[in-house]
């Protein structure tokens, strides 16, 4: 049995040492770590913290939402004269579309009061519809000819449409004018769109061209002398809504409306929602820091907060009634199995 002569393998030792993994806390998976565990205190306090945060937020949201005054008037049915049985024929006819509505202010509304139109069952989010626009053309006067994606509203007789596409073509064109005690209430239509849209997405040197000149007229027409960046109705409309029920900002009323006021609305009921039996609503609403009248958020917060309070209590009771000492080795499976045998 050969005994190795010592020293002969010195070079190999050096070579081998290079393979030795270097020690570091990282490679040895020994990095300092925090290992939180769900102690009863942690569970209960987690739920209590959720409660403590959620209840106030919920209350605040609810208060904010309750402060908001909202008047909703559905008018698409009432605005068809009773002698027209066929609503679609009416809306497509050249008949006078003027319609008068009265809104009653139940509660004082502080300015600014936002005027919205709300459409139902209108699929602005339909894939074909969403895609049917050309952002380049809207932004850049030089790109007026680029109408890709806009079919079938890309051009009329070979001349490109600006703004092209179904979205612009089908723009909402009901108009509202408000008066109170025979005094006109002005609706400010400025500043209803996102500033970034006006500044960067819709060119200030891009003018509507060849718009609504096709065989079928869609929605609103545009004043060809005003650049797109100032056509705020269009800008708002072009921000497609997420769901088939949506509101869009029409304008702002910058006077307060007092309780008991009667607002007379003269509206032009031009927009065809009758084909697809969509509703049209006129909405006047104030806002709070949270936005519009939105009880749901507050209620959701309160219920989650309440639930977690309940859970905190439930766990407190559980831990009290059936305490398990943490780290009690008798719960280890081998001890439990032994007990079971």
């Amino acid at each position: 049995m050969a005994t190795n002569s010592a020293g002969s393998n010195d070079p190999t030792v050096n070579r081998r040492q290079t393979k030795r993994p270097k020690y570091s806390k990282f490679t040895q998976q020994e990095l300092p770590a925090c290992k939180p565990i769900l102690t009863p205190q942690a569970v209960i306090s987690a739920f209590l913290i959720v409660t403590a945060i959620f209840i106030p937020i919920g209350v605040a949201s609810l208060i904010a939402s309750r402060d908001v005054v909202e008047i909703v008037d559905r008018y698409e049915a009432a605005c068809v004269p009773s002698n027209w049985t066929d609503k679609i024929a009416y809306i497509q006819s050249g008949a006078d579309k003027t319609c008068k509505r009265e809104l009653h202010v139940e509660k004082r509304m502080k300015s600014p009061i936002y005027v919205y139109y709300q459409l139902d069952n209108f699929y602005q989010n339909h894939r074909r519809y969403v895609k049917s626009r050309n952002d380049e053309q809207l932004r850049d006067a030089g790109k007026g000819n680029s109408t890709s994606g806009c079919d079938p509203e890309s051009n009329v007789d070979g001349v490109p449409i600006v703004p092209c596409g179904l979205i612009a073509w089908s723009m909402f064109n009901d108009t509202y004018s408000f008066s109170r005690n025979n005094n006109n209430v002005t609706v400010n239509k400025k500043g209803i769109s996102w500033k970034s849209d006006r500044d960067h997405k819709f060119g200030s040197d891009v003018f509507p061209k060849n718009f609504q000149n096709g065989t079928i007229k869609g929605g609103a027409s545009l004043n060809e002398t005003i650049p797109l960046s100032q056509q705020e109705d269009l800008i708002v409309w072009m921000r497609t809504a997420a769901l088939p029920t949506f509101r869009k900002l029409y304008g702002k009323i910058e006077v307060d409306l007092e309780k008991g006021d009667v607002i007379n609305v003269v509206l032009q009921n031009n927009y065809n929602t009758y084909s697809f039996s969509g509703k049209k609503k006129l909405v006047l609403s104030t806002t709070s820091w949270l936005g519009g009248k939105n009880d749901f958020l507050g209620i959701a917060y309160l219920s989650v907060g309440g639930l977690s309070f309940f859970l905190a209590m439930a766990f407190a009771i559980v831990y009290f009634v059936k305490p398990r000492q943490l780290g009690d080795p008798s719960y280890l499976s081998w001890n439990r199995n032994a007990a079971g045998q």
Binding site: A2, P21, P152
Partner: protein
Amino acid sequence: MAHGRIRARLRRSHFYTFGCLRPTTTDEGPHPLQGPGFSRTVHCNQPEIHERRPLYYCKNDISTTKYNVLTFFPKALFEQFRRVANIYFLLAACLSASPISPFSPLSMIAPLAFVVGLSMAKEALEDSRRFVQDVKVNHRKVHHHKGDGVFGPRMWQNIMVGDVVKVEKDKFFPADLLLLSSSYEDGICYVETMNLDGETNLKVKRSLESTLFLDSDEAFKDFAGTIRCEDPNPNLYTFVGNFEHERQVYPLDPSQILLRDSKLRNTEYIYGVVIFTGHDSKVMQNSTRSPSKRSTIEEKMDYIIYTLFTVLIFISIISSIGFIVKTKYQTPTWWYLRPDSIESQYDPQKIGVAGLSHLVTALILYGYLIPISLYVSIEVVKVLQATFINQDIHMYDEETGTPADARTSNLNEELGQVDTILSDKTGTLTCNQMDFLKCSIAGTPYGVCSSEVEVAAAKQIASDLEDDDSDLSNFPLPNKKGHVSWENVGVAEEYELETVVTSKGDEDEKHAIKGFGFEDDRLMNGNWLQEPNTDDILLFFRILAVCHTAIPELNEETGSFTYEAESPDEGAFLVAAREFGFEFCRRTQSSIFTRERISTSGKVVEREYKLLNLLDFTSKRKRMSVIVRDEEGQLFLLCKGADSIIFDRLSKNGKIYLEATTMHLNDYGEAGLRTLALAYRRLEEKEYSDWNDEFQKAKAAVGADRDAMLERVSEMMEKELILVGATAIEDKLQKGVPDCIDKLAQAGLKIWVLTGDKMETAINIGFSCSLLRQGMKQICITTNSDTESNDVKQAIKDNILNQITNATQMIKLEKDPHAAFALIIDGKTLTYTLEDDLKHKFLGLAVDCASVICCRVSPKQKALVTRLVKEGTGKTTLAIGDGANDVGMIQEADIGVGISGVEGMQAVMASDFSIAQFRFLERLLVVHGHWCYKRIAQMICYFFYKNIAFGLTIFYFEAFTGFSGQSVYDDWYMILFNVCLTSLPVISLGVFEQDVPSDVCLQFPALYQQGPKNLFFDWYRILGWMANGLYSSIVIFLLTVTILYDHPFREDGQTADMAAVGTTMFTCIIWAVNVQIALTMSHFTWIQHLFIWGSIMTWYVFLTIYGMLSPEYSKNAYHLLVEALGPAPIYWSTTLLVTVTCNLPYLIHISLQRCFNPMDHHIIQEIKHYKKDIEDQHMWIRESSKARQETKIGFTARVEAKIRQLKGKLQRKHSFLTIMSPVHK
């Protein structure tokens, strides 16, 4: 070398009675080589002939890589697209250019290219490693005949068929060779075939008589010959061929063939001619392509993916039906869509086409249900996990300088689910080094050193006794006295153990002689002369020094002798004899010379023993003897052999020490030592010469019964022996093996040993690594017959069946819950047992046994047994081995582990993991396996959760867009979701998560069972996570939409458009899934914190940057966060509400689980958290000692058995005391 040649010129064959005697005549003629399968022609020493067809044979370079430069792309791509999910994404990417696709082409192709590219890069890396390994082998050098009798080095890969090569000592054969001549005069050489079949003893090969003249380089100048032989085949033990030399034809048989990957031993050099090269060689023919293995988890993951595909198709169909209904009945009235001029994909007139194209759209749109990045994330995670395995300093072997190596990373988690370990023995459990440790001479035991098993067991007993004090006090002890008596036992025991342990400690420092671990002052340094029975001791030493077949070799540097022995046992004996003062120093044809130091003065006398006969060792005889005449002219037969064999042959007055020796042998066996009994016999001159005549007659006999005759004649002499003593040799286990086996057994793993060694050796090792112990019922299943005829075969099978049935019955009827059974079966029996009709019965029996040892198994049988276990039990198997003979089983098992750091890389090459020492297996499985299993399981579950939570929101939104295929999210959000917004946290979960630290894993092996029981990846859990995903998707969608859809969301009165709703929803998703993963984790280093909170931050950063790009690129997201969402409190409060609501149920779930049904790791986390393990160390130690599976193997079990035995004794004592107690009263 010249020195070696001269000295070694011995007619070694003289020593061999049976093994290698060259028959004087032979009745077998040249084999009539005909027909297919026997067409190979080799022109010796004329390799140039083999450069052209038709005699062109394959080259000697081997390649184990999966790909080469040309095939890499097609093959690797094909591999990638064998995954269903990838095919799906490929189709989606192809369609993404068409208008049908809801996404832009880039958003479909980029992630796919990324994922596939990364996986392929990984494949390439792994294959290149194999390539490097191949190159290393191919570039080994060997001396080959360059012509004109000049030899020069040449790389293995350039060796041709027909080349003459010269292989030197301890070198591997580069190809399958025909042995022409060796440094021994009679053309014998010794070959170690450990890499082929795992057998450790050397094999003797001999050349043809006719080629013996080729004994020098010059002789090959004009040598030429032709070999006609069989075609390449995988059969290692057969060879059929003829050698034609100078118009004479000689038959060849396997004993002239040197196989590639075996090693030349004890022979200075050999000349050989290459017959089979490269992949034609037998060992390569034996090797199968390494199969690509997949872990159970990954296989299950496929089912989950199929489930998700089903869901995907289901919701796509729903969506298409919705689309058809909407399109058919409603869109014609939607004038704003211009239904009069519409593309066919929305055309209500062609609803069939529209419906189908929408189906495709939907399939692509909801594709986010299928986590495209899952595979790639898993690969990344596994590569990182593998890096950690490679980097683990606790698995680095200082001696050989090899770290652990995860060669294929895709089985990491499988390591955590292993149920059965199939282990090779030699080189894996043992280091194939024998240490002379103890002996019993003339009924007196010598040797104070204890075997590793004893040491390990002693430690265990010592700690257990401490612990069990309380346990024992429960014993109904009648009075103080009883207790005292017990304590005496305990103390005595402990005292004994104490000495055992300390002596071992000392020994480590001074003991440096390889093969000799003996320590006892009574025998050392000539002190044995003061012992009684000096004569017997003298004889004992002489037997050690004389009865062997080894050759001494003088080490010129140290002046001491080293021995070249056929088996390491023999080497150990000679080293022992040398240390005792009986140095074997020279061997001639007829004599053995020893230097004996008999007197205390240290004077050395050289003595000569005339070697008259040598009756060598065979596995059948289990003994070897020499007949010598000493200088006084006395004749002795010196014999060593298996105790049972020797004891049967003792004379009446030779049994004086029988009883004592038997007792000692039992002790040695229990201590895991290999034992041999030594005996002698004095011969009368007359008796000997009579016998010798007969023996010579038998030796000269010709024919089939020659061996039988020789055996019979030998038998006649080996009787009437006188027992001298017994030796105990420790087959040196690799470091820490018993401990490791014990731990693995405690972790609930079953361990099977499959070895090529003979049964006794295997059983010994079984004892030494505690797989066997005294008191364990051994079930040996054997056959005796060699014949192969059919009805005999049936009879054998019936016999085996009978044995199996009986054993099964026995186990069934066993009442004692502590009874343990061991199944031992040999290879020959196994051939029958592995046939279809028997194997399941065999498996059934084997599963009931605590340990299973298969001995004398061929590589193929190892693989078959592995397959049987794998397929029969359906559990995960792990095969571990070090030699080429283990390759089959390593490839067959679910996980193959190779022992690296020894020579011969075949096992490592075929393996999935390689470690340097068996003991690292514990850490590999119990720590890394456990971690990786949990990490991967959690990671996959989470992945499905997050993709369901995300993907379903797209579906819900669909329903509100008239099923038109519009997505609420920007394309970029979708790309980034899987690629960077949620991937890093889940990767950090997969790489860094630790439920308990590594030391706890090792202390509580029972935790490992969470893997084999698959507690973290069962359908219950998977579906739970999916339900969680469903719930989250609903919450996210409903809450966001209800809050935002119509009301103004800011003080300025603006309403939310699609971009705002989509972005809010997406923000909620990012928060919800990242908080979810934070809840899932239990181990936060700064990395996790960085990744989780960083991912959320990244989202806002991305949104800001994206919003700052020109609207040309950012479209509706332009200034979205800064201008629209950021200032709106409702955006933030929605995020908070949704995040909390999504995670509430999971929080409740884990709180309840921890409260009512805590799992083991929960408790341990708590103990650690409250530092109870430090405060109450007793409890901690107690629990960790309890944290093991009920086990019947390992020394813990052995200790328990011993304690039970002691308790039994105590009880007897106790009853005895109660009988006595009246006297006290």
